[in-house]
Symmetry: C2
Amino acid sequence: MAANISDVAKLAGVSHQTVSRVLNDGDKVRASTRGRVEAAIRELNYRPSAAARALASRRSRVLGLLMTGGPLYGPGSTMLAFNDAARLAGYQVSIATMSTIDRESMVGAIDSLLAQDVEALVLVVADEVVFEAIAGLRISVPLVAAESSHRAGFHSVAIAQYAGARAATRHLIELGHTRVLHVAGPRWSLDATERERGWRDELAAAGLPAHDPVAGDWSPASGYAIGRELVASGSVKAGGGPTAIFAANDQMGVGIIGALASAGIDVPGDVSIVGFDDIPEAAFLRPALTTVRQDFALLGSKLMAAVLAALRGESAPHETDAEATLIVRASTTQVGDKRPAVAPD
Amino acid sequence: MAANISDVAKLAGVSHQTVSRVLNDGDKVRASTRGRVEAAIRELNYRPSAAARALASRRSRVLGLLMTGGPLYGPGSTMLAFNDAARLAGYQVSIATMSTIDRESMVGAIDSLLAQDVEALVLVVADEVVFEAIAGLRISVPLVAAESSHRAGFHSVAIAQYAGARAATRHLIELGHTRVLHVAGPRWSLDATERERGWRDELAAAGLPAHDPVAGDWSPASGYAIGRELVASGSVKAGGGPTAIFAANDQMGVGIIGALASAGIDVPGDVSIVGFDDIPEAAFLRPALTTVRQDFALLGSKLMAAVLAALRGESAPHETDAEATLIVRASTTQVGDKRPAVAPD
DNA sequence: CGTAGTTATGTGAACGGTCACATGAACGAC
DNA sequence: GTCGTTCATGTGACCGTTCACATAACTACG
């Protein structure tokens, strides 16, 4: 049915190899010949077969992207950004999601990608379990991870989550808060670990105590549940309770604010809240959420750059991280102050 | 380097064709032989080459998914759900995103998918422009669209957005609201059109007037801007102004609420708001957002079913739509009432 | 115990490209 | 005019499967 390279060659009166040359490095062919070939291509509506190409050249031009299930803002943005960068570099991206973070579903996901002859694997799911499982898998293609704990054996690129978390915590400290709680992300998440580490180190640098954080699962619901518990424990608003909370992501921040609000606790009047991600809603919530913005577009292109480097066989140079910047909004204020430090736009 | 089918055959002492049979329809091979072959496969860590398979069988086992840029909740959820369904059916999904909705970037995106020999194309971007462009493209693979306006030439599956929009509007009418505004999604979006149509028809059925809606772009920022204008125009809270707003998605709803709140207008006390999507945050906002929940998982599997039907050559039977259900929360209340009709959990 | 009928396995040619190498034409230098 | 170079193009093998068909092995049955 569809035309192949020989059909084109015949119509243009050249050999199949010349057509192939026109397709790949056009400048090795005399202009007049190239014209004839291109005309034939157009006339037959010819498209080279990716399968045949991949088979003969041993390069599939496909990259595998591994990510977690939920439609989370961070991973979703990373995926989109990487997808764009990959297309720009002439690669297709094939995606595998893992509904649950366990070894089995992970191996399944990776398998489905490898079965497709992907040239490299990109991990958006920065997860302890994933790294362990992969290490035991003897994977023959380069691995690039979007994560911040730079471990051996991987190319990795990350947004400076540690620095972002420190900035968020510092902001609270500078506002005079001395009892700064952290609501962490899931234990298995390396991003969550980095954010917690940043919070802990910044507190330590200021000589302030850090109580072990409760961990949510990134969802607003988990933030709400944790907020309720906090309220129920009676520590908030009582003497010695936290006056500020650093949530590991905006969604949990939303849940926490909801729980506090429904208990009559004012944000930021009674408790200041900082989130992480700068989801599109953040600026428009009441109160608008102070948060840490990540540059996902940059992350995407850096990931792609790392993939290309890995494919060229360069040793992993641990790209400089993309930046994370603190965005101050109305959900944080001077300790003891009843009104937001920043006027609502 | 990597083993191929002949290596396996040699090791197992059979012909390459027998190995192929074990790989594909195992029951045509004697159990003892199959055992030897499987052992050889494991020993050599053999994986069949997808490229060679695709080339010989003329089936790539890859589906193309076309979607828009931003990390929106609806499209993102649809993508994830479809991805799962596809893997279950033994297909890989390759994704192309279009940063802007114009003909050129769309053709580019589709091209990058077709170049990969996808067996079918799934459109998550329900957009007038996309349909037109595709119609002029003489695409040789089946097309399945996730959209609700069932047009000829496509298999299509959708969430019943029209019905959802009517339910949302009816809810407001039942609460006594007679001036119900709609803040629509982008003009090019068919989903937006369906939601608007539902709103319009429900108002008409109740004999209520419908003022032409302002259109946002799904983002909270656009909702906020529209909310500000509304406030500035002075119509809200004055006699004859709207007492309820149906926002085409939750994110715009958040923006609208933010704008109203910053002008001292109470939701739902002064104005009731309904959104659409039931984003994870919706239940935890203050006020919690009344909205319409869509069943994306079901949509995903129905999409996949439609793809399989299309691949079998069945004519498009326009699947029954997945349902959308109204979730009543605190952002709507009886007209004139100052307190939410639903108690915050 | 020969033979038809089934079942298990083998053989060689596609599939549609790329790769390595061969050939031929054009050109400048001596 | 001959020869080495470069540039443009052609030739045939090969990538790793599946497909259609051929053959061998085994079963059932008179």
